[in-house]
Symmetry: C2
Subunit: 348 residues, 2 copies
DNA sequence: TTTAGCACTCACCCGAAGAGAGTGCTAATA
DNA sequence: TATTAGCACTCTCTTCGGGTGAGTGCTAAA
């Protein structure tokens, strides 16, 4: 696409986006003209607006209304027209304060993070605890429950804990379980789940006669524990009620319902967040870019967070397309940094 | 309170409540008169209605509108005017089907139950996993995480698993942990958490010189594990979006916001559910009876569920006051029975 | 005691009128 | 040639008044 949008047009586009973000109503030429720093007459602005509309950056809800930004308009705005501010001290303090209490359980960190994000942004806060597959495995324990059922507990290097109940054909004594546990921990500790899966398949592919009875049981168990059924991703969504405060959704209950349904399903959200995981750093999804019908009026700003050097998950803020991108980006960026630090065990 | 409400009045009250539940609009005398099985003139009905209003069972949104039931009206209706139907085969089948897949992890059971309840009732489904304190403890495991941190895993007799990260002053080797684990399991297995707490205090009250080093460490650890910080209750709320479908809340976004805020806070819901736990069986909370301002337009129908003979938690359906009580009660009752069976390990 | 009749009360649903915001076009201006 | 002033026009939103209808309470008759 040719980049035939001159500086003045950019300036006007920026003004329109910002005005719309603040006031949630279509922006007219007069409004722009009267804004601070604009020395252009309404008539000229109208011409520019008309051009911007033709290029697809703006649209009109109806004739004789002002313009509102399209997805493309927002996209251009976040890509080219804003600079990310340094977070206000009060806000970064607020974020730091949230982690002072030395949370250790990763679920708690995630939950309180989603709440924190929603609180400072007045939007919904989202945190994705990612597929266990990419995480380095540290320790597994098996605990015998009632007959033929064993509770498997995985602990990852970064402190994520997962439980899973396994059903066995044969009954194992706790001592057997303990032996198997010791074996698996020495065999698999430090590998990622993906590597473990490959390793299991490799071991099992070897000549079966070499197996002693216990190894067979161990492999049987670990197959059930590591291979079957994906350990699902965990997603935390906090502050969904903030969506209820957005004027555009109060005016349109239908839209609100759609969004809440998306929250409840989660699968769709996870799909988007998975994409955000692919690349380290900030990721912004605007409206229909998500290709998810239900949330085409919303945007999502995310940032990956890490444990040491490896990307662990992604956190972000979800709100109407009309969000204060600069500030939201700054918040998400800063928070991701802090969370990464916490998870890596650094003192805050 | 004197029970001066004759049979005909009861009949009319019942008709009004049912009509209102179905149509969500104030019920007038003509409407009642035209209903099947009513052979009374509108004028007479008006007189009766007037009496019922005076007694506090009905109210008028405004003069010249029909009547709607008050909380007291609903209360009388559920207490005296309905009989609980036998659940339709299709519905009980649907419930049974939900549990066919042999869920074993209690969290999964709870989650899928809350979803199930919301699905068949078209209201919100709620399940409370109660305080760990009342549950019989089966097994504890300690897993060493990074320096000075230990992951404690509790397994209850009924299969509830809880994780908790503990911070220690001194570093323990895994072997020490294993010894301690074995000791604690033999010492505490089969007791409730409450009993365990008492036991710990008792042991620690004994002359300290009797302690060998390991016992001291064991007590230190178990104190952190069992005494400090309550292991919180888990509540599952499914199908909150069904609330968005209720005509009365679509018409009043303000009310909707309030309810969703209550969902998000959870503490208030837990408070009500705790009360429902106190007594085995069905529990119905109508409107302001909950004494929680935010949900004064809603009702809650709950039933306790059990593991063996001891009450484990409570499940129920949350919706507008105007709910189909007979059917909802039947659903909740039936589901509680099934869940209890599942948890007790009986074949379904 | 029940019922028919009737005047009265409100909420709700139009439709018309008016205001206001904003546009696009044209012609004048720098 | 680019910008601006002027102007007619469009369209939404609000307001207001009248009409409608559901429902009531009261009174008097059955």
């Amino acid at each position: 696409m040719v980049h035939d949008i001159d500086e003045r047009s950019q300036f006007i586009l920026k003004a329109i986006v910002q005005s719309y973000i603040m006031n949630v109503e279509p922006v007219g030429s007069r409004t722009v003209s009267k804004m601070y720093g604009v020395e252009i007459s309404p008539a000229t602005i109208r011409n520019v607006m008309s051009d911007l509309e033709e290029m697809g950056y703006l649209e009109q809800p109806h004739t004789s209304a002002g313009r509102i930004p399209t997805d493309k308009g927002y996209r251009f705005y976040v890509d080219s027209l804003i600079d990310i501010p340094i977070l206000a001290k009060a806000e970064s303090d607020r974020i730091n304060k949230n982690y002072e209490s030395k949370l250790t359980e990763i679920e708690k960190v995630m939950e309180s993070t989603s709440r924190l994000l929603s609180y400072i942004s007045r939007q919904a806060g989202i945190v994705l605890l990612p597929r266990f597959t990419t995480i380095t495995f540290r320790h597994i324990s098996f605990i015998k429950m009632r007959d033929n059922q064993v509770l498997a507990i995985f602990v990852s290097e970064s402190g994520v804990v997962q439980n899973k109940v396994i059903r066995l054909e044969e009954d194992l004594r706790q001592e057997e379980l303990d032996t198997i546990t010791a074996y698996l921990n020495s065999e698999f500790g430090g590998l990622t789940l993906k590597m473990i899966r490959e390793r299991i398949i490799e071991i099992m592919a070897n000549d079966k006669r070499e197996y002693d009875n216990l190894l067979r049981k161990a492999m049987d168990l670990s197959q059930k524990a590591f291979l079957e059924g994906s350990i699902e991703e965990d997603i935390y969504v906090g502050g969904t009620t903030n969506i209820l405060e957005q004027p555009e959704f109060i005016a349109d209950v239908e839209k609100m319902k759609t969004i809440f349904k998306a929250f409840e399903e989660k699968a769709k959200l996870i799909k988007i967040l998975d994409k955000c995981l692919e690349e380290e750093g900030i990721h912004i999804v605007i409206g229909a870019e998500s290709e998810i019908q239900e949330i085409r009026d919303c945007s999502l700003v995310t940032h990956t967070y890490k444990h040491g050097d490896s990307v662990l998950g992604v956190l972000g803020i979800f709100g109407p397309k009309r969000m204060e991108y600069p500030r939201i980006i700054a918040i998400v960026d800063y928070t991701a940094g802090i969370v990464s630090k916490i998870l890596s065990g650094e003192p805050s």
